[in-house]
Protein backbone atom coordinates (compact mmCIF):
# COMPACT_ATOMS: atom_id res chain seq x y z
CA UNK A 1 0.00 0.00 0.00
CA UNK A 2 2.80 2.40 0.88
CA UNK A 3 4.29 1.99 -2.59
CA UNK A 4 1.09 3.29 -4.13
CA UNK A 5 -0.31 5.41 -1.32
CA UNK A 6 2.55 7.67 -0.31
CA UNK A 7 3.80 8.17 -3.87
CA UNK A 8 0.50 8.31 -5.70
CA UNK A 9 1.47 11.52 -7.53
CA UNK A 10 4.35 9.63 -9.15
CA UNK A 11 1.94 6.94 -10.34
CA UNK A 12 -0.29 9.56 -11.93
CA UNK A 13 2.80 11.07 -13.55
CA UNK A 14 3.79 7.71 -15.01
CA UNK A 15 0.27 7.01 -16.28
CA UNK A 16 0.13 10.43 -18.00
CA UNK A 17 3.62 10.01 -19.45
CA UNK A 18 3.02 6.56 -20.89
CA UNK A 19 -0.52 7.42 -22.01
CA UNK A 20 0.72 10.52 -23.82
CA UNK A 21 3.48 8.59 -25.56
CA UNK A 22 0.98 5.90 -26.58
CA UNK A 23 -1.42 8.40 -28.17
CA UNK A 24 1.49 10.08 -29.90
CA UNK A 25 2.72 6.85 -31.47
CA UNK A 26 -0.49 4.88 -32.03
CA UNK A 27 -2.77 7.55 -33.53
CA UNK A 28 -2.61 8.52 -37.19
CA UNK A 29 -4.63 11.71 -36.82
CA UNK A 30 -2.26 14.68 -36.63
CA UNK A 31 -4.52 16.51 -34.15
CA UNK A 32 -4.70 13.51 -31.79
CA UNK A 33 -0.95 13.14 -31.91
CA UNK A 34 -0.65 16.74 -30.71
CA UNK A 35 -3.05 15.99 -27.86
CA UNK A 36 -0.85 13.04 -26.90
CA UNK A 37 2.10 15.40 -26.86
CA UNK A 38 0.21 17.77 -24.57
CA UNK A 39 -0.61 14.92 -22.17
CA UNK A 40 3.04 13.86 -22.15
CA UNK A 41 4.08 17.42 -21.30
CA UNK A 42 1.50 17.66 -18.50
CA UNK A 43 3.09 14.65 -16.85
CA UNK A 44 6.28 16.71 -16.54
CA UNK A 45 4.41 19.53 -14.82
CA UNK A 46 3.21 17.07 -12.18
CA UNK A 47 6.66 15.48 -11.85
CA UNK A 48 8.12 18.85 -10.86
CA UNK A 49 5.27 20.35 -8.85
CA UNK A 50 4.22 17.45 -6.63
CA UNK A 51 7.50 16.93 -4.70
CA UNK A 52 7.79 20.67 -4.03
CA UNK A 53 4.66 20.65 -1.89
CA UNK A 54 5.00 19.64 1.75
CA UNK A 55 1.80 18.74 3.58
CA UNK A 56 1.12 21.63 5.93
CA UNK A 57 3.82 23.70 4.27
CA UNK A 58 3.22 27.37 3.49
CA UNK A 59 4.72 29.93 1.16
CA UNK A 60 8.37 30.53 2.09
CA UNK A 61 7.87 33.78 3.98
CA UNK A 62 9.66 33.89 7.31
CA UNK A 63 7.07 34.64 9.97
CA UNK A 64 6.19 33.73 13.51
CA UNK A 65 4.52 30.37 13.89
CA UNK A 66 5.45 28.91 10.49
CA UNK A 67 8.29 26.42 10.30
CA UNK A 68 7.44 24.24 7.29
CA UNK A 69 7.77 25.82 3.87
CA UNK A 70 7.01 24.50 0.40
CA UNK A 71 9.66 24.91 -2.29
CA UNK A 72 8.53 27.67 -4.68
CA UNK A 73 11.17 27.04 -7.35
CA UNK A 74 9.40 24.11 -9.10
CA UNK A 75 6.32 26.30 -9.56
CA UNK A 76 8.38 28.96 -11.29
CA UNK A 77 10.10 26.39 -13.47
CA UNK A 78 6.83 24.80 -14.48
CA UNK A 79 5.29 28.17 -15.24
CA UNK A 80 8.07 28.47 -17.82
CA UNK A 81 7.54 24.89 -19.01
CA UNK A 82 3.80 25.56 -19.43
CA UNK A 83 4.60 28.59 -21.58
CA UNK A 84 6.88 26.42 -23.70
CA UNK A 85 4.15 23.77 -23.90
CA UNK A 86 1.55 26.33 -24.99
CA UNK A 87 3.90 27.71 -27.64
CA UNK A 88 4.59 24.20 -28.94
CA UNK A 89 0.90 23.34 -29.07
CA UNK A 90 0.08 26.63 -30.80
CA UNK A 91 2.76 26.06 -33.41
CA UNK A 92 1.67 22.46 -33.86
CA UNK A 93 -1.97 23.44 -34.40
CA UNK A 94 -0.92 26.16 -36.85
CA UNK A 95 1.09 23.63 -38.85
CA UNK A 96 -1.86 21.20 -38.82
CA UNK A 97 -4.13 23.96 -40.18
CA UNK A 98 -1.64 24.61 -42.99
CA UNK A 99 -1.37 20.86 -43.67
CA UNK A 100 -5.15 20.63 -43.97
CA UNK A 101 -5.14 23.56 -46.41
CA UNK A 102 -2.39 21.99 -48.50
CA UNK A 103 -3.51 18.34 -48.46
CA UNK A 104 -7.19 18.47 -47.52
CA UNK A 105 -6.61 15.87 -44.82
CA UNK A 106 -5.08 15.47 -41.39
CA UNK A 107 -4.70 11.69 -41.49
CA UNK A 108 -1.02 10.73 -41.65
CA UNK A 109 -1.60 7.74 -43.94
CA UNK A 110 -3.50 9.76 -46.56
CA UNK A 111 -0.94 12.56 -46.56
CA UNK A 112 2.02 10.21 -46.96
CA UNK A 113 0.17 8.37 -49.76
CA UNK A 114 -0.29 11.69 -51.58
CA UNK A 115 3.40 12.55 -51.15
CA UNK A 116 4.35 9.17 -52.60
CA UNK A 117 2.05 9.76 -55.56
CA UNK A 118 3.74 13.15 -56.12
CA UNK A 119 7.17 11.52 -55.98
CA UNK A 120 6.15 8.92 -58.55
CA UNK A 121 4.91 11.65 -60.86
CA UNK A 122 8.21 13.49 -60.55
CA UNK A 123 10.09 10.41 -61.66
Amino acid sequence: MSVVGANYSYWITIVLMVGGMYILIARGNLLKKLLGLAVLQSSVYLLYIAPGKLIGGTAPIIAEGYAVYSNPLPHVLILTAIVVGVATLALGLAIVVRIREAYGSIEEEEILARDRADDDEAR
Binding site: M17, M21, L24, L30, K33, L37, L40, Q41, V44, L47, Y48, P51, P74, L77, T80, A81, V84, A87, T88, L91, G92, I95, V96, R98, I99, A102, Y103, I111, L112, D115, D118, A122
Partner: protein
Protein backbone atom coordinates in the same frame (compact mmCIF):
# COMPACT_ATOMS: atom_id res chain seq x y z
CA UNK B 1 30.55 46.56 -21.61
CA UNK B 2 33.21 43.86 -21.78
CA UNK B 3 32.04 42.06 -18.66
CA UNK B 4 28.51 41.85 -20.12
CA UNK B 5 29.66 40.12 -23.33
CA UNK B 6 28.38 36.77 -22.10
CA UNK B 7 24.84 38.13 -21.81
CA UNK B 8 24.97 40.35 -24.90
CA UNK B 9 25.82 37.47 -27.21
CA UNK B 10 22.37 35.99 -26.46
CA UNK B 11 20.48 39.24 -25.99
CA UNK B 12 21.44 40.87 -29.31
CA UNK B 13 19.80 38.28 -31.63
CA UNK B 14 16.96 37.82 -29.12
CA UNK B 15 16.12 41.54 -29.34
CA UNK B 16 16.62 41.63 -33.10
CA UNK B 17 13.81 39.09 -33.62
CA UNK B 18 10.88 41.13 -32.14
CA UNK B 19 12.28 44.33 -33.73
CA UNK B 20 12.13 42.64 -37.12
CA UNK B 21 8.52 41.57 -36.53
CA UNK B 22 7.56 45.10 -35.43
CA UNK B 23 9.23 46.94 -38.33
CA UNK B 24 7.97 44.46 -40.96
CA UNK B 25 10.41 45.61 -43.60
CA UNK B 26 12.37 43.07 -45.58
CA UNK B 27 15.36 45.36 -45.94
CA UNK B 28 15.48 46.19 -42.22
CA UNK B 29 15.04 42.50 -41.41
CA UNK B 30 18.05 41.54 -43.46
CA UNK B 31 20.24 44.34 -42.07
CA UNK B 32 19.28 43.51 -38.47
CA UNK B 33 19.90 39.80 -39.05
CA UNK B 34 23.31 40.41 -40.58
CA UNK B 35 24.27 42.86 -37.84
CA UNK B 36 23.17 40.43 -35.12
CA UNK B 37 25.10 37.58 -36.76
CA UNK B 38 28.32 39.58 -37.09
CA UNK B 39 28.01 40.99 -33.57
CA UNK B 40 27.60 37.47 -32.19
CA UNK B 41 30.70 36.39 -34.12
CA UNK B 42 32.62 39.36 -32.73
CA UNK B 43 31.48 38.63 -29.17
CA UNK B 44 32.20 34.92 -29.39
CA UNK B 45 35.69 35.43 -30.81
CA UNK B 46 36.33 37.91 -28.01
CA UNK B 47 35.06 35.38 -25.44
CA UNK B 48 37.10 32.58 -26.99
CA UNK B 49 40.22 34.73 -26.71
CA UNK B 50 39.42 35.71 -23.13
CA UNK B 51 38.87 32.08 -22.11
CA UNK B 52 42.07 31.00 -23.84
CA UNK B 53 44.17 33.63 -22.08
CA UNK B 54 42.43 34.26 -18.75
CA UNK B 55 40.43 31.07 -18.09
CA UNK B 56 36.68 30.44 -17.78
CA UNK B 57 34.25 33.34 -17.61
CA UNK B 58 31.34 33.22 -15.18
CA UNK B 59 28.48 35.72 -15.47
CA UNK B 60 25.66 35.94 -12.94
CA UNK B 61 22.40 36.92 -14.67
CA UNK B 62 20.75 39.79 -12.79
CA UNK B 63 23.65 39.66 -10.30
CA UNK B 64 22.08 36.67 -8.53
CA UNK B 65 25.10 34.67 -7.44
CA UNK B 66 25.31 31.06 -8.65
CA UNK B 67 24.20 28.41 -7.75
CA UNK B 68 20.98 30.25 -6.76
CA UNK B 69 20.81 32.49 -9.79
CA UNK B 70 21.31 31.53 -13.41
CA UNK B 71 24.96 31.40 -14.31
CA UNK B 72 26.34 31.90 -17.80
CA UNK B 73 29.58 30.01 -17.96
CA UNK B 74 32.06 30.12 -20.82
CA UNK B 75 34.89 27.62 -20.84
CA UNK B 76 37.10 26.13 -23.57
CA UNK B 77 34.29 23.85 -24.83
CA UNK B 78 31.44 26.36 -24.84
CA UNK B 79 33.54 29.15 -26.38
CA UNK B 80 34.54 26.75 -29.17
CA UNK B 81 30.89 25.92 -29.87
CA UNK B 82 29.95 29.63 -29.72
CA UNK B 83 32.55 30.43 -32.38
CA UNK B 84 31.45 27.50 -34.55
CA UNK B 85 27.77 28.59 -34.43
CA UNK B 86 28.35 32.30 -34.96
CA UNK B 87 30.89 31.63 -37.72
CA UNK B 88 28.22 29.71 -39.64
CA UNK B 89 25.71 32.47 -38.93
CA UNK B 90 28.05 35.08 -40.37
CA UNK B 91 28.08 33.20 -43.70
CA UNK B 92 24.39 32.38 -43.77
CA UNK B 93 23.21 35.94 -43.01
CA UNK B 94 24.64 37.65 -46.12
CA UNK B 95 23.47 34.65 -48.19
CA UNK B 96 19.94 34.89 -46.82
CA UNK B 97 18.74 38.00 -48.66
CA UNK B 98 18.71 36.64 -52.22
CA UNK B 99 17.85 33.11 -51.19
CA UNK B 100 14.86 34.07 -49.05
CA UNK B 101 13.65 36.57 -51.67
CA UNK B 102 13.40 33.67 -54.09
CA UNK B 103 12.05 30.86 -51.93
CA UNK B 104 9.66 32.44 -49.42
CA UNK B 105 6.42 34.31 -50.13
CA UNK B 106 6.92 38.10 -50.06
CA UNK B 107 4.73 38.80 -47.05
CA UNK B 108 6.39 36.13 -44.96
CA UNK B 109 10.04 36.98 -45.59
CA UNK B 110 10.52 39.20 -42.54
CA UNK B 111 9.17 36.37 -40.36
CA UNK B 112 11.82 34.05 -41.75
CA UNK B 113 14.53 36.48 -40.61
CA UNK B 114 12.90 36.80 -37.19
CA UNK B 115 12.83 33.02 -36.78
CA UNK B 116 16.46 32.78 -37.85
CA UNK B 117 17.45 35.35 -35.19
CA UNK B 118 15.50 33.45 -32.51
CA UNK B 119 17.11 30.20 -33.57
CA UNK B 120 20.58 31.76 -33.43
CA UNK B 121 19.85 33.24 -30.01
CA UNK B 122 18.66 29.87 -28.70
CA UNK B 123 21.67 27.98 -30.02
CA UNK B 124 24.12 30.48 -28.55
CA UNK B 125 22.17 30.39 -25.28
CA UNK B 126 22.44 26.59 -25.06
CA UNK B 127 26.18 26.83 -25.46
CA UNK B 128 26.66 29.57 -22.90
CA UNK B 129 24.30 28.75 -20.04
CA UNK B 130 25.43 26.87 -16.95
CA UNK B 131 21.91 26.14 -15.74
CA UNK B 132 20.08 22.93 -16.64
CA UNK B 133 16.60 24.45 -16.85
CA UNK B 134 17.72 27.58 -18.65
CA UNK B 135 19.30 25.21 -21.16
CA UNK B 136 15.88 23.59 -21.71
CA UNK B 137 14.33 26.99 -22.40
CA UNK B 138 17.01 27.87 -24.96
CA UNK B 139 16.70 24.39 -26.45
CA UNK B 140 13.00 25.02 -27.05
CA UNK B 141 13.54 28.57 -28.32
CA UNK B 142 15.95 27.31 -30.96
CA UNK B 143 13.85 24.23 -31.75
CA UNK B 144 10.51 26.04 -32.11
CA UNK B 145 12.21 28.57 -34.37
CA UNK B 146 13.74 25.82 -36.48
CA UNK B 147 10.36 24.05 -36.88
CA UNK B 148 9.02 27.29 -38.34
CA UNK B 149 12.09 27.67 -40.57
CA UNK B 150 11.43 24.18 -41.97
CA UNK B 151 7.69 24.83 -42.35
CA UNK B 152 8.40 27.97 -44.44
CA UNK B 153 9.89 25.74 -47.16
CA UNK B 154 8.69 26.12 -50.75
CA UNK B 155 6.86 22.78 -51.08
CA UNK B 156 3.89 21.37 -49.21
CA UNK B 157 6.04 18.48 -48.00
CA UNK B 158 7.85 21.07 -45.86
CA UNK B 159 4.77 21.24 -43.63
CA UNK B 160 4.73 17.52 -42.98
CA UNK B 161 8.51 17.52 -42.46
CA UNK B 162 8.17 20.35 -39.94
CA UNK B 163 5.32 18.52 -38.18
CA UNK B 164 7.34 15.33 -37.78
CA UNK B 165 10.42 17.29 -36.73
CA UNK B 166 8.26 19.10 -34.16
CA UNK B 167 6.80 15.90 -32.70
CA UNK B 168 10.15 14.17 -32.31
CA UNK B 169 11.94 17.32 -31.19
CA UNK B 170 9.33 18.04 -28.52
CA UNK B 171 9.45 14.47 -27.24
CA UNK B 172 13.24 14.89 -27.08
CA UNK B 173 12.98 18.14 -25.12
CA UNK B 174 10.33 16.66 -22.81
CA UNK B 175 12.56 13.68 -22.08
CA UNK B 176 15.42 16.04 -21.36
CA UNK B 177 13.32 18.04 -18.92
CA UNK B 178 12.11 14.83 -17.22
CA UNK B 179 15.76 13.87 -16.73
CA UNK B 180 16.61 17.29 -15.35
CA UNK B 181 13.58 17.09 -13.05
CA UNK B 182 14.82 13.81 -11.57
CA UNK B 183 18.30 15.25 -11.09
CA UNK B 184 16.77 18.31 -9.42
CA UNK B 185 14.76 16.08 -7.08
CA UNK B 186 17.91 14.21 -6.07
CA UNK B 187 20.33 17.14 -5.78
CA UNK B 188 18.16 20.21 -5.14
CA UNK B 189 20.10 22.31 -7.63
CA UNK B 190 19.89 23.24 -11.29
CA UNK B 191 23.36 24.73 -11.70
CA UNK B 192 25.33 22.19 -13.72
CA UNK B 193 28.60 22.60 -11.82
CA UNK B 194 26.84 22.50 -8.45
CA UNK B 195 24.86 19.44 -9.58
CA UNK B 196 28.09 17.63 -10.47
CA UNK B 197 29.44 18.30 -6.97
CA UNK B 198 26.31 17.06 -5.23
CA UNK B 199 25.62 13.95 -7.34
CA UNK B 200 28.29 11.72 -5.75
CA UNK B 201 26.62 12.30 -2.37
CA UNK B 202 23.21 11.13 -3.57
CA UNK B 203 22.37 7.92 -1.67
CA UNK B 204 19.95 6.42 -4.20
CA UNK B 205 21.46 5.97 -7.67
CA UNK B 206 18.41 4.57 -9.45
CA UNK B 207 16.71 7.95 -10.13
CA UNK B 208 20.07 9.26 -11.36
CA UNK B 209 20.35 6.35 -13.79
CA UNK B 210 16.79 6.99 -14.99
CA UNK B 211 17.70 10.66 -15.46
CA UNK B 212 20.75 9.60 -17.46
CA UNK B 213 18.57 7.43 -19.70
CA UNK B 214 15.97 10.17 -20.28
CA UNK B 215 18.62 12.79 -21.03
CA UNK B 216 20.51 10.47 -23.38
CA UNK B 217 17.41 9.55 -25.39
CA UNK B 218 16.04 13.11 -25.32
CA UNK B 219 19.23 14.74 -26.52
CA UNK B 220 19.81 11.77 -28.84
CA UNK B 221 16.56 12.72 -30.61
CA UNK B 222 17.72 16.33 -30.93
CA UNK B 223 21.14 15.45 -32.29
CA UNK B 224 19.79 12.74 -34.63
CA UNK B 225 21.71 9.90 -33.02
CA UNK B 226 21.06 6.77 -35.10
CA UNK B 227 18.31 5.34 -34.96
CA UNK B 228 16.61 8.49 -33.63
CA UNK B 229 17.36 10.41 -36.83
CA UNK B 230 14.04 9.84 -38.65
CA UNK B 231 13.07 13.52 -38.60
CA UNK B 232 16.31 14.75 -40.14
CA UNK B 233 16.27 13.76 -43.84
CA UNK B 234 12.85 15.27 -44.60
CA UNK B 235 13.47 18.38 -42.49
CA UNK B 236 16.72 19.13 -44.31
CA UNK B 237 15.37 18.19 -47.75
CA UNK B 238 12.26 20.36 -47.66
CA UNK B 239 13.46 23.40 -45.66
CA UNK B 240 14.41 26.61 -47.50
CA UNK B 241 18.07 26.51 -48.62
CA UNK B 242 19.29 29.00 -46.08
CA UNK B 243 17.53 27.19 -43.24
CA UNK B 244 18.97 23.83 -44.33
CA UNK B 245 22.48 25.24 -44.40
CA UNK B 246 22.12 26.90 -41.02
CA UNK B 247 20.43 23.99 -39.24
CA UNK B 248 22.70 21.34 -40.75
CA UNK B 249 25.76 23.27 -39.64
CA UNK B 250 24.64 24.18 -36.13
CA UNK B 251 21.49 22.64 -34.59
CA UNK B 252 22.61 19.02 -34.21
CA UNK B 253 26.13 20.14 -33.22
CA UNK B 254 24.88 22.21 -30.31
CA UNK B 255 22.87 19.19 -29.12
CA UNK B 256 26.07 17.14 -29.15
CA UNK B 257 27.55 19.85 -26.95
CA UNK B 258 24.69 19.34 -24.45
CA UNK B 259 25.40 15.63 -24.38
CA UNK B 260 29.12 16.25 -23.81
CA UNK B 261 28.37 18.71 -21.02
CA UNK B 262 26.10 16.24 -19.21
CA UNK B 263 28.30 13.19 -19.71
CA UNK B 264 31.55 14.80 -18.65
CA UNK B 265 30.41 17.77 -16.58
CA UNK B 266 27.47 16.41 -14.55
CA UNK B 267 27.50 12.63 -14.43
CA UNK B 268 30.69 11.04 -13.20
CA UNK B 269 32.50 9.97 -16.41
CA UNK B 270 34.47 7.25 -14.60
CA UNK B 271 31.24 5.62 -13.49
CA UNK B 272 29.50 6.30 -16.80
CA UNK B 273 32.15 4.70 -18.95
CA UNK B 274 33.46 1.96 -16.63
CA UNK B 275 30.30 0.65 -14.89
CA UNK B 276 27.72 1.25 -17.60
CA UNK B 277 27.76 0.05 -21.21
CA UNK B 278 27.99 3.67 -22.46
CA UNK B 279 31.07 2.97 -24.56
CA UNK B 280 29.56 -0.10 -26.23
CA UNK B 281 26.24 1.63 -26.95
CA UNK B 282 27.84 4.72 -28.46
CA UNK B 283 30.38 2.84 -30.56
CA UNK B 284 27.70 0.42 -31.86
CA UNK B 285 25.17 3.15 -32.74
CA UNK B 286 27.87 5.35 -34.27
CA UNK B 287 29.21 2.57 -36.48
CA UNK B 288 25.65 1.73 -37.56
CA UNK B 289 25.07 5.40 -38.45
CA UNK B 290 28.36 5.69 -40.33
CA UNK B 291 27.67 2.65 -42.48
CA UNK B 292 23.87 2.42 -42.79
CA UNK B 293 23.13 6.13 -43.33
CA UNK B 294 25.98 6.41 -45.84
CA UNK B 295 24.59 3.42 -47.75
CA UNK B 296 21.14 5.05 -47.89
CA UNK B 297 22.80 8.20 -49.22
CA UNK B 298 24.38 6.23 -52.06
CA UNK B 299 20.93 5.28 -53.41
CA UNK B 300 19.23 8.64 -52.91
CA UNK B 301 18.14 10.63 -55.99
CA UNK B 302 17.31 13.93 -54.29
CA UNK B 303 20.62 15.69 -53.66
CA UNK B 304 19.52 17.53 -50.51
CA UNK B 305 18.26 14.24 -49.02
CA UNK B 306 21.48 12.56 -50.08
CA UNK B 307 23.51 15.06 -48.06
CA UNK B 308 20.99 14.90 -45.20
CA UNK B 309 21.65 11.16 -44.84
CA UNK B 310 25.33 11.96 -45.08
CA UNK B 311 24.79 14.27 -42.07
CA UNK B 312 23.40 11.34 -40.06
CA UNK B 313 26.56 9.39 -40.93
CA UNK B 314 28.80 12.32 -40.04
CA UNK B 315 27.04 12.71 -36.68
CA UNK B 316 28.06 9.07 -36.25
CA UNK B 317 31.72 10.17 -36.38
CA UNK B 318 31.06 12.75 -33.68
CA UNK B 319 29.37 10.27 -31.33
CA UNK B 320 32.02 7.64 -32.14
CA UNK B 321 34.59 9.93 -30.51
CA UNK B 322 32.44 10.05 -27.36
CA UNK B 323 32.27 6.24 -27.31
CA UNK B 324 36.02 5.78 -27.75
CA UNK B 325 36.47 8.30 -24.94
CA UNK B 326 40.09 9.41 -24.87
CA UNK B 327 41.91 12.67 -25.51
CA UNK B 328 42.46 12.10 -29.24
CA UNK B 329 38.98 10.77 -30.01
CA UNK B 330 37.22 13.54 -28.07
CA UNK B 331 39.38 16.08 -29.92
CA UNK B 332 38.13 14.45 -33.12
CA UNK B 333 34.51 14.70 -31.96
CA UNK B 334 34.75 18.34 -30.96
CA UNK B 335 36.73 19.47 -33.98
CA UNK B 336 34.13 17.73 -36.16
CA UNK B 337 31.44 19.99 -34.68
CA UNK B 338 33.24 22.78 -36.52
CA UNK B 339 34.63 20.85 -39.49
CA UNK B 340 31.37 19.15 -40.40
CA UNK B 341 29.46 22.38 -39.79
CA UNK B 342 31.69 24.21 -42.25
CA UNK B 343 31.59 21.37 -44.80
CA UNK B 344 27.82 20.77 -44.76
CA UNK B 345 27.16 24.49 -44.52
CA UNK B 346 29.19 25.03 -47.71
CA UNK B 347 27.42 22.19 -49.54
CA UNK B 348 23.89 23.34 -48.67
CA UNK B 349 24.71 27.00 -49.41
CA UNK B 350 26.00 26.01 -52.87
CA UNK B 351 23.01 23.68 -53.49
CA UNK B 352 20.74 26.63 -52.68
CA UNK B 353 22.40 28.49 -55.56
CA UNK B 354 21.87 25.50 -57.87
CA UNK B 355 18.18 25.30 -56.89
CA UNK B 356 17.76 29.02 -57.53
CA UNK B 357 19.30 28.84 -61.03
CA UNK B 358 17.40 25.66 -61.89
CA UNK B 359 14.19 27.39 -60.82
CA UNK B 360 13.07 24.18 -59.10
CA UNK B 361 12.45 23.55 -55.43
CA UNK B 362 14.04 20.09 -55.58
CA UNK B 363 17.64 19.48 -56.62
CA UNK B 364 17.79 16.01 -58.14
CA UNK B 365 20.88 14.37 -59.54
CA UNK B 366 19.65 15.15 -63.09
CA UNK B 367 19.47 18.82 -62.12
CA UNK B 368 23.23 18.74 -61.53
CA UNK B 369 24.01 17.41 -65.04
CA UNK B 370 26.76 19.46 -66.66
CA UNK B 371 27.12 21.70 -63.62
CA UNK B 372 30.89 21.79 -64.18
CA UNK B 373 30.31 23.71 -67.41
CA UNK B 374 27.22 25.68 -66.42
CA UNK B 375 28.31 26.83 -62.95
CA UNK B 376 32.05 26.06 -62.76
CA UNK B 377 32.72 27.75 -59.40
CA UNK B 378 29.72 26.15 -57.69
CA UNK B 379 30.75 22.75 -59.04
CA UNK B 380 34.31 23.29 -57.81
CA UNK B 381 33.00 24.24 -54.36
CA UNK B 382 30.78 21.14 -54.21
CA UNK B 383 33.75 18.99 -55.25
CA UNK B 384 36.06 20.41 -52.57
CA UNK B 385 33.45 20.22 -49.80
CA UNK B 386 32.54 16.71 -51.00
CA UNK B 387 36.17 15.67 -50.64
CA UNK B 388 36.11 17.08 -47.12
CA UNK B 389 33.12 14.81 -46.37
CA UNK B 390 35.13 11.83 -47.60
CA UNK B 391 38.10 12.96 -45.53
CA UNK B 392 40.75 13.48 -48.21
CA UNK B 393 44.03 14.87 -46.78
CA UNK B 394 44.19 18.65 -47.11
CA UNK B 395 40.55 19.10 -46.14
CA UNK B 396 38.86 19.66 -42.77
CA UNK B 397 37.28 16.18 -42.81
CA UNK B 398 40.72 14.55 -42.81
CA UNK B 399 41.70 16.26 -39.55
CA UNK B 400 38.67 14.77 -37.81
CA UNK B 401 39.29 11.28 -39.11
CA UNK B 402 42.97 11.50 -38.19
CA UNK B 403 42.14 12.20 -34.54
CA UNK B 404 39.44 9.52 -34.47
CA UNK B 405 41.80 6.92 -35.94
CA UNK B 406 44.55 7.88 -33.48
CA UNK B 407 42.04 7.61 -30.62
CA UNK B 408 40.80 4.20 -31.76
CA UNK B 409 44.36 2.88 -32.19
CA UNK B 410 45.24 4.01 -28.67
CA UNK B 411 42.50 1.67 -27.48
CA UNK B 412 43.74 -1.00 -29.90
CA UNK B 413 40.38 -1.05 -31.69
CA UNK B 414 41.44 -1.97 -35.23
CA UNK B 415 37.89 -2.78 -36.25
CA UNK B 416 36.83 0.80 -35.53
CA UNK B 417 39.58 2.04 -37.85
CA UNK B 418 38.33 -0.45 -40.48
CA UNK B 419 34.79 0.89 -40.05
CA UNK B 420 35.99 4.50 -40.46
CA UNK B 421 37.75 3.49 -43.69
CA UNK B 422 34.68 1.59 -44.93
CA UNK B 423 32.42 4.53 -44.17
CA UNK B 424 34.82 6.89 -45.97
CA UNK B 425 34.72 4.64 -49.05
CA UNK B 426 30.91 4.67 -49.03
CA UNK B 427 31.07 8.46 -48.66
CA UNK B 428 33.34 8.49 -51.72
CA UNK B 429 30.61 6.57 -53.58
CA UNK B 430 27.86 9.11 -52.89
CA UNK B 431 30.10 12.12 -53.41
CA UNK B 432 31.22 10.52 -56.69
CA UNK B 433 27.60 10.26 -57.87
CA UNK B 434 27.25 14.02 -57.36
CA UNK B 435 30.57 14.79 -59.07
CA UNK B 436 29.84 12.38 -61.91
CA UNK B 437 26.58 14.20 -62.61
CA UNK B 438 28.28 17.59 -62.34
CA UNK B 439 31.34 16.92 -64.47
CA UNK B 440 30.74 13.94 -66.75
CA UNK B 441 27.11 14.26 -67.81
CA UNK B 442 26.29 16.73 -70.58
CA UNK B 443 24.03 19.61 -69.53
CA UNK B 444 20.38 19.44 -70.57
CA UNK B 445 19.63 21.77 -73.48
CA UNK B 446 17.10 23.70 -71.41
CA UNK B 447 19.35 24.06 -68.35
CA UNK B 448 20.19 27.63 -67.34
CA UNK B 449 23.81 28.73 -67.48
CA UNK B 450 25.57 31.15 -65.16
CA UNK B 451 26.54 31.21 -61.52
CA UNK B 452 24.25 31.97 -58.59
CA UNK B 453 23.90 35.66 -57.54
CA UNK B 454 27.20 37.04 -56.24
CA UNK B 455 26.39 37.23 -52.48
CA UNK B 456 25.15 33.63 -52.46
CA UNK B 457 28.10 32.32 -54.46
CA UNK B 458 30.54 34.30 -52.30
CA UNK B 459 29.11 32.89 -49.05
CA UNK B 460 29.21 29.32 -50.39
CA UNK B 461 32.73 29.66 -51.76
CA UNK B 462 34.01 31.35 -48.59
CA UNK B 463 32.72 28.45 -46.54
CA UNK B 464 34.30 25.99 -48.98
CA UNK B 465 37.57 27.88 -48.54
CA UNK B 466 37.22 27.31 -44.79
CA UNK B 467 36.93 23.53 -45.42
CA UNK B 468 40.34 23.66 -47.06
CA UNK B 469 41.75 26.21 -44.61
CA UNK B 470 40.86 24.05 -41.58
CA UNK B 471 42.50 21.13 -43.41
CA UNK B 472 45.89 22.87 -43.26
CA UNK B 473 45.77 25.43 -40.46
CA UNK B 474 44.48 23.64 -37.38
CA UNK B 475 45.76 25.83 -34.53
CA UNK B 476 42.25 27.21 -33.93
CA UNK B 477 40.15 24.20 -34.91
CA UNK B 478 42.08 21.19 -33.59
CA UNK B 479 43.93 23.30 -31.02
CA UNK B 480 40.71 24.65 -29.53
CA UNK B 481 39.13 21.19 -29.67
CA UNK B 482 42.12 19.60 -27.91
CA UNK B 483 41.84 22.17 -25.10
CA UNK B 484 38.12 21.42 -24.82
CA UNK B 485 38.75 17.65 -24.82
CA UNK B 486 41.36 18.00 -22.08
CA UNK B 487 38.84 20.04 -20.09
CA UNK B 488 36.19 17.32 -20.54
CA UNK B 489 38.54 14.61 -19.34
CA UNK B 490 39.32 16.69 -16.24
CA UNK B 491 35.57 16.71 -15.52
CA UNK B 492 35.10 20.34 -16.68
CA UNK B 493 36.89 21.71 -13.64
Amino acid sequence: MLEHLAALIVVVPLVAAPLIVLVRSRRFAWIATTAASYLSLLFSVQLFWRVATLGPVSYAIGSWAPPWGIEYRVDALSSFVLVAVSLTASFVAPYAQRSIAREVARDRQYLMYAMYCLCLSGLLGIAITGDAFNLFVFLEISSLASYVLVALGPRRQSLMAAYQYMLMGTVGATFYVIGVGLLYLMTGTLNLADMAQRLPGVPDVRPVLVALAFITVGIGLKLALFPLHQWLPNAYAYAPSMATAFLAATATKVSVYVLLRFYFGVFDPARLFEHLPTREVFVALSLAAMVAASLVAVFEQDVKRLFAYSSVAQIGYITLGIGVDNQASLTGSIVHLLNHGVTKGAIFLLLGGVALRAGAAAVRLETLAGLGRRMPLTALGLALAGLSLVGVPGTAGFITKWYLVVGALERGWWWVVAAILASSLIALAYVWRVLEAAYLRPPAASAARGEAPAPMLAAGMAMTALCVYFGFETSFSAGGAADAAALLLRGLR
